[in-house]
């Protein structure tokens, strides 16, 4: 069905190679952060943030501003906001998960409204929603690569602290770790990853890049370090496979990557059940 020459033809195209590089880096970032976010039960925050990212993208496109430069600060601010709501949700009037649902659907609605009011953007909506590698410009690629390298380095430097805070926030706080600083760092890194990844994965699907790989590796591995390493491998593998599939059979990139991730998740689940 897929011939080798079609694959080689694909790989010789510059824009695909560029997208691949960005995608691999974003997949790495997303999976590393994902382990912590999933364990802290923050999975839905990723979803909310991507919708906010979509709205800010739509606004910046409509006004002709640089999309990444607008989206990143907007999403970072919303991330702080969502984390705060989530942490206070026990005693505030609106519970954390409903607050996230409110914000994420409002942002999505706002984004769609703006896109449909802006002339000549309707055709792009599908690509924003479900991802496309065609939307990446040369400067996007450079910004994305630099930012994702920063995310990776910070994650590695703070790995042990992130473990402590994820495992037991109270202990970390009690023994003098600056927990709110680390949570802010996680929020910023997550926001950056989401905004960069959104273009390739699409608004509706970027959060799966965060959630799936860590869930898959947690089926099999029981050690934090192993979970982190394996989820980054799974993430990159699924991204590459999904991207190639999407080019060969012409389906949106994000959708194809999610389906690949789902398949891997099911396989990991079965392996996890059998080795238990």
């Amino acid at each position: 069905m897929f011939s080798m020459s079609a694959l080689l033809g694909l790989l010789s195209q510059k824009f695909i190679l560029r997208a691949m590089l960005v995608g691999v880096l974003v997949s790495l970032c997303a999976s590393l952060l994902g382990v912590s976010l999933v364990l802290k039960r923050y999975s839905m925050i990723g979803d909310g943030l991507s919708h906010v990212g979509f709205a800010s993208l739509a606004i910046s496109m409509a006004l002709g501003w640089a999309p990444l430069l607008v989206s990143i600060p907007v999403v970072v601010i919303s991330a702080f906001f969502l984390l705060r709501i989530n942490n206070q949700s026990n005693d505030s009037a609106i519970k954390g998960d409903s607050a996230i649902a409110l914000i994420s659907s409002s942002a999505l609605a706002l984004g769609i409204m703006i896109t449909s009011l802006t002339k000549g953007m309707n055709s792009d909506v599908i690509s924003y929603m479900f991802g496309s590698i065609l939307t990446l410009s040369q400067s996007d690629v450079i910004v994305s690569i630099v930012l994702s390298l920063i995310v990776l380095v910070l994650f590695i430097v703070f790995y042990n602290k992130i473990f402590t805070v994820t495992f037991d926030e109270n202990f970390a706080k009690a023994t003098g770790t600056n927990v709110s600083l680390l949570n802010s760092l996680l929020a910023i890194l997550t926001s950056i990853t989401i905004v960069i990844g959104m273009r390739i994965m699409g608004t509706l699907l970027i959060s799966s890049l965060i959630i799936f790989p860590s869930l898959s590796s947690m089926r099999i591995f029981k050690k934090f370090k192993h979970v982190v390493i394996s989820s980054s491998i799974i993430s990159v593998f699924c991204f590459l496979l999904g991207l190639i599939l999407s080019c060969l059979i012409e389906i949106p990139t994000g959708a194809s990557i999610v389906v690949t991730n789902l398949t891997v998740f099911i396989i990991c689940h079965i392996i996890g059940k059998t080795i238990k």
Binding site: F171, K173, T175, K222, F224, V227
Partner: protein
């Protein structure tokens, strides 16, 4: 000076006073047991001592060169996600992190310290086991080892044996006693377990939103309030 002293400490949750005017001292080598009914403010006091919550008035002073990041803490079990994927060694090792300041990675010394803590609590054999697959009692020992990595001086323990069976509980208290006696670590503990309290505590703080009693265990058992609280058990 005392290892830790509370002076006229008051703490509250949005205008609900949980603790008013608490004063007491803890000396090096003490085994202080904080007792009181449910809702009497025991956990709140520990949160204050650990800096998890700031008091509305009064102060907490650390003496003997004790720094706030040199306190070991064993939280109540329910605050931890029991299905967390981590090996016991990873969990214990994370206890050494607080002393490392800006240094991001563990060195040989930290690893040796973690192994030493596990050895003291007889859980070396669990080193590579997965935390979530342990029994409640084993998990509790792992968390105690982690706390031990964070301190040589003061261990703060909140109801350590909730949900453990009596035999495991009494072994757990024995371990804490050993840390106190053998290694000179000061213990501040809340507990509803009267048996362990009568056996090991040297000091008692009885709370009911304020201090009902503070003093040695021997004094406590002869006071009216002490007799009532210790109830049937001490006469058995």
């Amino acid at each position: 000076m005392s290892l830790l002293s509370c002076k006229n400490l008051s703490m509250s949750y949005d205008n609900n006073n949980a603790l008013t005017d608490i004063s007491f001292d803890v000396d090096n080598g003490d085994y202080l047991c904080i007792v009181g009914e449910n809702g009497s403010g025991k956990s709140t006091l520990l949160k204050g001592l650990l800096g998890l919550m700031s008091p509305i008035s009064g102060e907490i002073l650390f003496g003997d060169n004790l720094k706030p990041n040199e306190i070991g803490y064993l939280p109540q079990q329910q605050s931890i996600n029991r299905s967390f994927p981590a090996s016991c060694f990873e969990v214990v090792l994370s206890g050494t992190l607080s002393k490392k300041g800006l240094i991001p990675f563990y060195n040989k010394h930290d690893k040796a310290r973690a192994l030493d803590a596990m050895q003291k609590l007889n859980i070396l054999s669990l080193k590579n086991k997965s935390y979530k697959q342990l029994s409640g009692g084993q998990q509790q020992r792992v968390l105690l080892a982690r706390a031990l990595c964070a301190t040589d001086k003061l261990l703060i323990v909140d109801e350590p044996t909730t949900g453990l069976d009596p035999l495991i509980s009494s072994e757990f208290y024995k371990l804490i006693h050993k840390l106190n006696k053998l290694y000179g670590i000061t213990i501040i503990m809340t507990s509803h377990d009267i048996n362990s309290l009568t056996k090991y505590a040297t000091k008692i703080l009885h709370l009911k939103n304020n201090v009902q009693f503070i003093g040695t265990y021997d004094e406590y058992k002869n006071t009216e309030i002490g007799k009532t609280f210790l109830g049937g058990i001490s006469h058995v």
